[in-house]
């Protein structure tokens, strides 16, 4: 064996021999961590998202008329009035709030003065992410599509027919991977985001735990990502958590298991609290982790301290 071959052999061995971390639920949730109620009295909370400070924003997709906000002191208020029927919300690096208005079949953006601009119409948007460089990806659940709106405002279909009922959507912390949950199947799919913003190499990377009565349908819904690269996916069986290599860490039943759990995000001080929308209520739970936020500078995953 020549020297070059041996060196490259060593190098390639090094890449695979770095073991994936084992990420038990106990690593994420301290022993005294329990669900605590944040707000109640809504009909169907959805679109949970956080700004840089950790304030929580959400919608009430069925009964609501506004974008709501819960500040760091826990005080809730109406943030953007006259904005009904929203199913997805994300802040962009430009300080604007992007929204899937499923009821009106359009994607819009609210600027700092809360004035609304339409980005796409006659679409069936469900949920969205906005990358640091201003690419917006949204799921079209009924048409099996993922679409992109580029920073210039041009909309294209970037995936069609791969994910049966694309629903939740989240970015890896380095923003090189887009993860999309399937509401009609049992997988969470990942795609590589190409330099030109298109999607490549889909993989059914994560397998959801499914109800015994519908083993092929996990109802994958709203998603989020943490700084360690874990993916959080709401589903029929509760909140499912996967490590960066797609292995299930565990499942948290919904705080109220009689009601659907469809949206989750990290918010609160240090973005260290995990929030879930569970029917008309929002709950939160302290974690030892923190959210990876799309408007932040993309970074490599943090290693979990031993």
């Amino acid at each position: 064996m020549n020297r070059t071959l041996f060196t490259s052999l060593l190098a390639s061995t090094l890449i695979v021999s770095a073991p994936a971390q084992d990420m038990a639920l106990s690593q994420i949730f301290p022993e005294d961590s329990a669900w605590e109620l944040v707000v109640e009295g809504y009909e169907f909370t959805d679109g949970l998202t956080s700004d840089a400070a950790g304030n929580l924003y959400f919608s009430d997709v069925k009964g609501g008329t506004a974008v709501y906000r819960v500040d760091l002191e826990g005080k809730s208020s109406e943030y953007i009035p006259n904005a009904p029927g929203i199913s997805g919300l994300k802040w962009g690096a430009d300080g604007k709030l992007y929204a899937c208005v499923s009821k009106e079949q359009r994607v819009v953006v609210f600027d700092k003065d809360k004035a609304v601009t339409e980005l796409a119409k006659e679409v069936r948007p469900n949920d969205l992410v906005v990358t640091r460089d201003g690419n917006l990806y949204f799921t079209m659940t009924p048409t099996s599509e993922i679409r992109r709106i580029d920073p210039a405002g041009k909309m294209t279909v970037v995936s069609s027919g791969v994910v049966g009922k694309p629903n939740g959507i989240s970015l890896s912390r380095d923003q090189g991977t887009l993860a999309v949950s399937d509401h009609g199947g049992k997988f969470v799919w990942v795609f590589r985001i190409e330099p030109d913003g298109t999607l490549a190499h889909p993989g059914n990377y994560m397998t959801l735990v499914t109800p015994a009565e519908t083993p092929e349908v996990g109802k994958g819904d709203g998603m989020t990502t943490d700084v360690h690269g874990r993916y959080y996916v709401t589903s029929a069986e509760g909140l499912q958590i996967f490590d960066p290599t797609g292995r299930l860490c565990g499942v948290l039943p919904a705080p109220d298991s009689k009601l659907p759990i469809v949206s989750c995000c990290f918010a609160g001080p240090g973005h260290a609290w995990l929030y879930v929308g569970n029917g008309g209520k929002i709950w939160r739970r302290k974690t030892t982790s923190a959210g990876a936020l799309g408007f932040e500078e993309p970074k490599a995953n943090e290693v979990v301290p031993k």
């Binding site: 052999l9 390639s12 021999s17 380095d174 090189g176 190499h201 993989g203 990377y205 290599t245």
Partner: protein, 292 residues
């Protein structure tokens, strides 16, 4: 002396022997280059897969000096192949194969040492998507198809590989161990010899069900070697020593040709590496009766 004190003393006395440390497992003389033993050739290659769409990987092909192309060679596929061909690793497979083939303890065998795939990053500074767990821990025929439809035909362009499944072995460590079993379980028409070291027959992606499946599935014509250590993992996915004992019990119940070697090691390749020559002799013990 009270009986329990005597017992305690005896335990203390025997403890060092009973609990050999993981580090005490070292490669033996058959993993060392021996004078007068002809050495095979190793070449390194890259593969871009369609079965695992978008993945790239390295693999190494070992061709023994005794292979002359006149007849097909037996096949040994090792997952996480880079670790098996590493010159100072726990396995040093090429040297072990040189020595065993030369001694007549195993047939003329072409080794295919293949790494798991990665989807490389599209931009600098981004991380590759590691496909190892998906490929190795998933219970499906996808990894078998990767070997049968892609990798073996590619290697087969240069060398005559046996198509007799009894002449084809598949081997791996940890998730690579369950992957080796899955390949043969899914495709006994293509692979019938399995070597698993510290195999992850645990619930990483559902692999803990194998003992139950083995018991209630018509037995398949496989020969299965398992190595495991008392101090192996106990984590969110399962308990490795218990899982391997469950596998052993199920294989015994269903009357498989099998063996479990239980040591005292941890989740490493050290024990499997130390006994690798003996393992290969066991798996190929009747090779002279086979028609490659």
């Amino acid at each position: 002396m009270k009986p329990y004190l005597a017992l305690a003393c005896a335990l203390l006395f025997f403890t060092p022997a009973l609990f050999a440390a993981d580090e005490d497992y070292v490669p033996g003389p058959e993993a060392m280059v021996k004078e007068g033993v002809p050495r095979g050739k190793i070449s390194q290659h890259q593969w871009t897969s369609q079965v695992f769409e978008g993945t790239e990987r390295d693999y190494w092909v070992y061709v023994p000096a005794q292979y002359d192309g006149s007849k097909p060679a037996c096949v040994l596929v090792c997952f996480d192949g880079g670790g098996f061909v590493k010159e100072d690793g726990s396995f040093r497979a090429p040297v072990v194969l040189d020595n065993l083939i030369h001694a007549g303890d195993m047939p003329v065998t072409i080794g295919i040492f293949v790494n798991p795939g990665v989807v490389p990053p599209a931009k600098e500074g981004q991380e590759a998507r590691k496909n190892r767990s998906f490929e190795y821990d998933t219970l499906s025929d996808q990894n078998a198809r990767f070997l049968i439809e892609e990798l073996l035909p590619e290697v087969g362009k240069s060398y005559k590989l046996s198509t007799n499944p009894d002449c084809r072995a598949v081997c791996g460590n940890s998730s690579g161990g369950i992957a080796a079993f899955t390949v043969a379980w899914e495709r006994p028409d293509a692979f019938r010899k399995v070597i698993s070291h510290i195999g992850s027959f645990t619930n990483i992606r559902g692999g803990h069900v194998y003992p139950a499946l083995i018991r209630k599935t018509e037995p398949k014509p496989l020969r299965v070697f398992l190595q495991e250590g008392e101090n192996d993992l106990d984590n969110l996915h399962g308990n490795w020593p218990l899982a391997n004992r469950e596998m052993e019990a199920a294989l015994k119940f269903a009357k498989y040709d099998h063996q479990l070697v239980m040591g005292t090691g941890k989740h490493s390749g050290r024990h499997g590496g130390a006994i690798f020559p003996e393992t290969l002799r066991w798996i190929w013990r009747d090779w002279k009766t086979l028609q490659p």
